[in-house]
Symmetry: C2
Subunit: 199 residues, 2 copies
């Protein structure tokens, strides 16, 4: 055990995700030895984020204003909504440059073990958008894992009756991957979703 402030810092750092006791100690000593100005900037950026960053009133994405830059962007197609689990998924889809619509961030996925049901997610807000905005298509882009699939299935059923086109991102072989190393579920999905190559 270290003296007061050092141990406190190690404890605080150790509560961050993916930071074990050894990394917490290593980061704490880095902070101790680093330039005070740099460390002041780190501390300030933590408080700034908590003070300034909020969640977009419309889609739930992170933003420093009432609505996020994507919802404010009038060049984006307002008739298509891509539903994702987290803000980081928005960034991932944006990087593809192949989606020009808007987003809806659920804030997680259905996970009964962790006690997260549909009512803990921003599904009610999505339904409100569907009745208020002129939405024609919903693309469900939840993670291709158990929780993501459960969420997609739930949303699919919920949206069935509303008269919008609902789709789910394709599952299949990752580009640049190796058929030999693909797991059987992925390979099975790739077969199911096979596309015609006739020219």
């Amino acid at each position: 055990m270290y003296e007061g402030a050092v141990q406190e810092l190690i404890d605080e750092l150790g509560r961050l995700p993916g930071v074990g006791p050894k990394s917490a100690q290593r980061i704490a000593f880095h902070i101790l030895e680093a330039d005070p100005e740099d460390m002041k900037r780190l501390a300030t950026s933590i408080t700034t984020v908590k003070e300034r960053v909020q969640f977009c009133e419309i889609c739930g994405n992170v933003t420093e204003e009432a609505t996020c830059s994507i919802c404010r962007d009038t060049r984006r197609d307002p008739s298509v909504i891509c539903v994702v689990e987290e803000s980081k998924d928005v960034i991932a889809v944006e990087r593809t440059r192949s989606f020009k619509g808007r987003y809806h961030v659920l804030g997680g996925s259905i996970n009964p073990i962790a006690g997260i049901g549909p009512e803990q997610l921003r599904i009610r807000e999505l339904m409100t958008r569907l009745s208020d905005e002129q939405i024609q298509e919903i693309i469900i882009a939840t993670d291709p894992n158990l929780e993501g699939e459960a969420t997609a299935t739930y949303l699919g059923r919920l949206l069935q009756s509303i008269g919008v086109t609902v789709s789910r991102l394709a599952s299949g072989l990752p580009v640049g991957g190796d058929l030999e190393y693909a797991d059987e579920v992925t390979l099975g999905r790739a077969f199911e979703g096979r596309r015609s190559v006739s020219s």
Copy 2:
């Protein structure tokens, strides 16, 4: 890329040791979603450490006062000094509960590639202690790697003429380890340092 404050936080976190871009993003989103009070405490503990923690005037260990708790402790044997590379090594030795003397923290090890020579380490301070204090024994506990060995050899030569007992921690098989998996250098050292088992 995220908007302003979030990206700034990710950048700052990414500069910490052992935190890659993915972990920085994960930690940043944890901070965003965490309780504001908890995050205020994290930010405060960073600034507190920088304001309050200093290095002990005598041994160079971390402390919140002019001298560290070990140097202040009159029950510790003032005639034996254990020389370590970093403050974290002090904690490691303290955990063994088998050393009752005092410490001297060098602040690193000799590493010509990184441009760290003996003059960058707290060796001058050690020599001053040797002339001022009643020291009879020096135990060199630098890391058992290339840089630590170089530092130990350098210190050994420097201290030779002073008339104090100088020793180096034993190298050998780690307790609970497996002979089969020991590397050849460690096993070689274990042979060299073998001890009589006669009762």
